[in-house]
Point group: C2
Chain length 339, copies 2
């Protein structure tokens, strides 16, 4: 591989001149510039960014770390972050901690040595107290912005989504359709968003003057447990005419339960769910759902990061992005209202 010195020799100029045609602030005469360009082409020369990084003390790379590459939400964040980085002339390099704190630690350690200019991070352990490696990273002065979580006590820039307004919208949509009894199938109780969903659900019910029926608010991780939970709700004497579910796996569970009970959606029971980029495409009926601003989280995340790089001492920002309700086939007026 050719070096700048070889290019200089072949063009009959000094290395300084080559460096200048390569983008220095100094202008080079057309005559020399042409010779240099020709030499570059002849030698198939690519400037060594490693050397350049060492000299200018920045790498022009930003790292994108997510905790679960198999999670479609995370993927969208990666895509958003990548696009924003490219657009700003940074090279996005992405890493997957695979939800393992030790792997995340490895990545972070490697990155420190590699001198990336900044990191957008979707943490592997958002709640647990095991984040000293992040803390050390921050203390060492590497700009970090946290995606989709706030790290307890770390005071980082972060961009998160608003679970409140979204869930509120969903329940209101159902209420405005005429539903009086709306059930909730929530994520497992210890999930970070679980409490939010529950609170907002109750809030929305009372806003709309609807009765809260305790056994209509259930939660389950996914799969058969969720199916059974949904089924039990639907078998109540006073069956709800609508369901709000906190995720696609849960929506699928409700759909299975409906089928098992010979009920139709949306004719007998309406459904609104937190969106999932994959399942929304294939579910029938097409689910009315709350699209999550994941791509935007990634995008805004690197924008925030770039600001932070530009001004390391600014006050940390907390940005919150709204989901959007997409009304599709799974929600309709209840049979009672239509009769």
């Amino acid at each position: 591989v050719a070096t700048i010195k070889e290019v200089a020799k072949r063009a009959g100029v000094s290395v300084g001149t080559v460096s200048n045609v390569l983008g220095g602030s100094v202008t080079v005469s057309k005559r020399l510039r042409d010779r240099v360009l020709a030499a570059i082409k002849d030698l198939d020369y690519y400037p060594n960014q490693v050397a350049r990084s060492l000299k200018i003390r920045q790498t022009n790379m930003i790292a994108v770390i997510v905790s679960d590459l198999t999670n479609p939400f995370h993927i969208q964040m990666v895509r958003g972050a990548e696009d924003a980085a490219w657009r700003n002339n940074y090279l996005p390099v992405t890493f997957n901690s695979d939800s393992r704190v030790d792997r995340e630690r490895q990545v972070v350690t490697a990155l420190r040595g590699r001198r990336v200019d900044g990191i957008v991070l979707l943490p592997a352990a958002p709640d647990a107290g095991k984040n000293e490696h992040i803390c050390a990273l921050k203390d060492s002065g590497v700009p970090i912005v946290c995606l989709d979580h706030e790290l307890h006590g770390l005071d980082l820039d972060c961009v998160v989504r608003d679970n409140f307004n979204g869930a509120l919208q969903s329940v209101r949509h159902l209420a405005s359709l005429g539903h009086r009894y709306i059930a909730l199938l929530n994520v497992e109780p210890h999930h970070p968003a679980s409490r939010d969903h529950y609170l907002v659900y109750r809030q929305a019910l009372s806003d709309e003057g609807l009765e809260f029926v305790d056994p209509f608010a259930v939660s389950a991780p996914a799969g058969d447990a969720a199916y059974l939970a949904a089924k039990s709700v639907l078998e109540s004497a006073k069956r709800p005419s609508a369901f709000f579910t906190a995720g696609a796996p849960l929506a699928i569970a409700v759909l299975r339960a409906l089928k098992a009970l010979n009920l139709r959606c949306p004719e007998d029971v309406s459904l609104v769910t937190v969106d999932d980029p994959v399942f929304s495409e294939i579910l029938r009926p097409r689910p009315t759902s709350l699209a999550q601003p994941c791509y935007e989280i990634g995008w805004k995340g690197v924008e925030l990061l770039l600001q932070r790089i530009a001004d390391p001492h600014a006050k940390p920002v907390r940005m919150v992005l709204e989901p959007t309700l997409h009304i599709r086939e799974s929600s309709a007026a209840p049979a009672a209202a239509r009769a």
Copy 2:
């Protein structure tokens, strides 16, 4: 950020000594080593890998480029590649070309400057002739291995999957269950694997002495087109008792068609499909499917790459990995055989 010089000063030794305790081949006396270690800890020193890379002329990074991060197959390849890289003390950095050749070109160009030690690549344009950037990359001496495709005329190491044995196994499985008429729902005709599937399907039928019925072999991209195609086959006077589908979206289409016609799976019609890591989990009945060795492709890809790095002049290797048939609920003996 601390440098090796500062560490040396604080420990009262030379930089050479620090470098040696940091992993040089030379041994350092315990006394000095302890002082150095202490200084490193005090200063929170992380060796600058950029400088190191410049000096030793290798970065210890390998790049993983896939064309579609939203594709679960690609994700698994990334995971396999990452794990293999970490295990071999390389830092895997992954990139997503988003199926755009221009983005892939950007990535590849950036990587050349960055001097990654090697690249495993799932090309954005496996068939099209628009791969001079890959060609140039190869000519410049960067080790590359190609995943899941062979690049026309480029003579690279590659690791691909075997579509033959897998499809063969699938049809044989159905035949051994007693099915006499097995339909094929193939991917769209111009898809690279389409022809393979078709050929193997016919081969397998003739191996098993089964009749090939031309209208039973159909193809469609996905969604409603696939649904309609499946439905038309199932409405034939002499309906097949089993289906082999070339992917999860197609399997879903068959399932939808069965439901629409009031047929059950596997009681009325059996189904075997090429596996999909996501859908297999949620489909009911659980599909008998041909698991694709995607994780292994990624893993073996970097192993091959490491060999290539070790011996740049070895003859390129073409490694082919077999899928595995997982027998689940969607395949059973046909009603006729059970009666």
